[in-house]
Symmetry: C2
Subunit: 252 residues, 2 copies
């Protein structure tokens, strides 16, 4: 279905770039992105794409030159002004690569603001590849229409996490003991504006970690139902539920 | 942490079997399951496992014999009586294999009752392998603690779906136009006891399909937020949200 004003007024294809975006400028894009646009999506000189960089909003651009090592985009007009998209944070014990890819992709679609790997005592060491994580967030942001990328923070130890925890953000943590508050009620009555979800590793938190979370005033134990959820399922269910009952899925 | 009564009172490993379960009986298990128990999980003669078949509750069993072609379990005592677990239905346009595996696994963890592939006009034909889908539901049910498997129904055309729709079940469908009701509010105020979620294919529903859904009294258009969700993300977000606000995540 062609939208009013024709396809060019809002081309479907969106790409993320690093550089500033301003009307009348041109923007070189690298070989991989050019390959995607020209070879995979079969765009031609003059065709439109949507471009965003996380800071300057979303722009209509046209393919201005195509060469062997990349292409050049001409930035035309602003389609959407920049917004903050300050989504909830996801704190997760690193999981295996395919599950991590999945969690990062889905969390980006669900509007996560910060991705923070956390090393708990039972976390099985996983090599984190920040470039790979970032590529996942870019692809998901391009596809889902976000104007920002989630921020990927370096991994940190659980033990230091609570000592500098921000006062304006509730740390919801998945409590598998059944003692947590039902998540929907906990989210709907949260007293702080921001939210973060801490999902434990396979095998759960250690007793000492649970005790520290229970005693921490900024934390709320939540219950995610009667079944044992895998870590990535729990993370995505918590994010979607938050957006629906307390976040940006509510009608503006 | 060893539960009261010792490890054997509730072994962690759960397996699904087909045959009836009753105390004092023995249960042959096939080579693949025996391999998993003996070689992968390193269980020995006399070790306990939990066994369920979707009908007779969950039983403590012990490994009674190990042979080349399988093993024999001795069924000991009932651990949990059978419950119905009548979860919401998921109606989905088949997606590619890895995404389908993921959707089936996560939907099982989130308590889905029925998995119904639906062929809409824009569905790109995908070969469905019912045995593979069933294996995914078994593995996920074993892991998450369910007492039942979701029912996998044969694929059907969208066009026939509404003609025999059950009167006691709301058909929530993901409306990408922005005209749907915010999902949390729609779920919290549903008038029928049962729920089903219809998730369209990549590319969405055709205009005629949308019109039929809009005119159908048993259907409610829902909105899943400002970002474009992939089909499997939408399915899992809807299922988790339903369980949290209207389903079995609410405190009993």
């Amino acid at each position: 279905v062609t939208p009013p004003g024709g396809v060019d007024s809002a081309p479907k294809i969106r790409i993320y770039v690093e550089a500033p975006l301003a009307p009348g400028t041109t923007q070189p894009i690298a070989a991989a992105q050019a390959h995607y646009l020209i070879r995979v999506m079969r765009l031609k000189l003059g065709d439109g794409v949507r471009v965003f960089n996380g800071r300057d909003g979303e722009w209509l651009a046209r393919i201005d030159q195509v060469g062997r090592r990349g292409a050049l985009l001409a930035i035309v007009t602003l389609l959407r002004g920049q917004i903050a998209e300050a989504g909830p944070w996801l704190l997760f014990a690193p999981v295996k690569r395919l599950k991590l890819d999945l969690m990062v992709e889905k969390a980006t679609e669900l509007g996560v603001g910060v991705l923070q790997p956390v090393l708990t005592r039972r976390t099985v060491a996983q090599r984190l590849n920040p470039a790979r994580l970032r590529a996942q967030t870019i692809e998901a942001a391009e596809q889902c229409g976000r104007l920002t990328l989630p921020e990927i923070r370096p991994a940190r130890e659980f033990d230091g996490l609570l000592s500098d925890w921000p006062v304006d953000r509730t740390l919801f943590w998945g409590d598998e003991s059944g003692d947590g508050r039902p998540a929907a009620a906990a989210f709907a009555t949260a007293h702080r504006p921001g939210a973060a979800f801490l999902i434990g590793p396979e095998g759960g938190f250690e007793a000492g970690e649970r005790d520290r979370l229970r005693r921490f005033a900024g934390a709320v134990a939540i219950d995610l139902g009667p079944r044992i959820l895998r870590a990535e399922t729990a993370a995505l269910a918590a994010l979607g539920l938050w957006q629906a009952v307390a976040g940006d899925w509510r009608r503006q």
